[in-house]
Amino acid sequence: MKIEQRQVNDIPILALHGRFDAMTSEHLEERLKSVIDGGARNICLDLNAVEFISSSALRVLLTSLKEVKKNEGIIVLAAMPSHVREVFDLAGFLELFAVQETCEEALKIFE
């Protein structure tokens, strides 16, 4: 599990790598909390390199989305592999988050 962070036009982009399960999701929680506490309203998550995701990580994302929505922000899920997309779909999350094929397309939303 690894999270790389970069910033484009004031939008934090977190690239998630590896497994996001009940052992590792707390790192995602800490990172997202620190980004949101740092004042970010909108966040882009690059999910291209996610190998595995379980409900522990989904809960973290749901809580974070509720947090940014308080300031009318959004979280964009970009570049989801099909196995990851299926988990989001089963959880009914695709309707809650903004979903884009690539990070570049995701960034256009904020222009």
């Binding site: 379980s54 989904l58 749901l62 089963l90 809650l96």
Partner: protein, 141 residues
């Protein structure tokens, strides 16, 4: 081959479960979707037991077994926690608006969607959940 693994009620034992499932998946040449689904469903059920089954802080054993034949994977999860039947757990409301979405119930929902059959019974103060996943083999040639 029957895989049998005994885990402690400690989330770090999830790594042992993941390794066992990966070995099982490789040995039976199961496709990546089945491997992913097994990892997901069994993690959700294992973590659910750890978080909700025990009132004490004692060590408990959670036993997971998997068996394979050409048409299906079957398995069982046994724990000595409080009586809980996941098959009767209510479905989360997936159409609720964001503000009304609850964090609970998602894991069991994901497990339910992966298995084709699952059946619960209580025996000698133990929760026993049997499950089955049918396999659809791609035709060769």
């Amino acid at each position: 081959m029957i895989l049998k693994i005994i885990l402690e009620n400690n989330r770090h034992d999830l790594a042992k479960l993941q390794n066992a499932i990966d070995t099982f998946t490789e040995e039976h040449n199961l496709n990546v979707d089945i491997g992913f689904g097994l990892n997901l469903a069994l993690e959700e059920l294992f973590i659910n037991v750890i978080l909700h089954a025990y009132d004490d802080r004692l060590l408990h054993a959670i036993e997971i077994s998997l068996d394979y034949d050409a048409n299906k994977i079957t398995g069982q999860i046994t724990d000595d926690g409080r009586c809980f039947d996941p098959t009767l757990h209510p479905e989360p409301d997936l159409s609720a608006k964001l503000e009304e979405r609850k964090n609970g119930g998602l894991g069991i929902h994901l497990a339910r969607r992966f298995f084709d059959n699952w059946k619960y019974h209580r025996e000698k103060d133990k929760n026993i959940l049997n499950f089955e996943k049918r396999l659809i083999r791609e035709r060769s040639g």
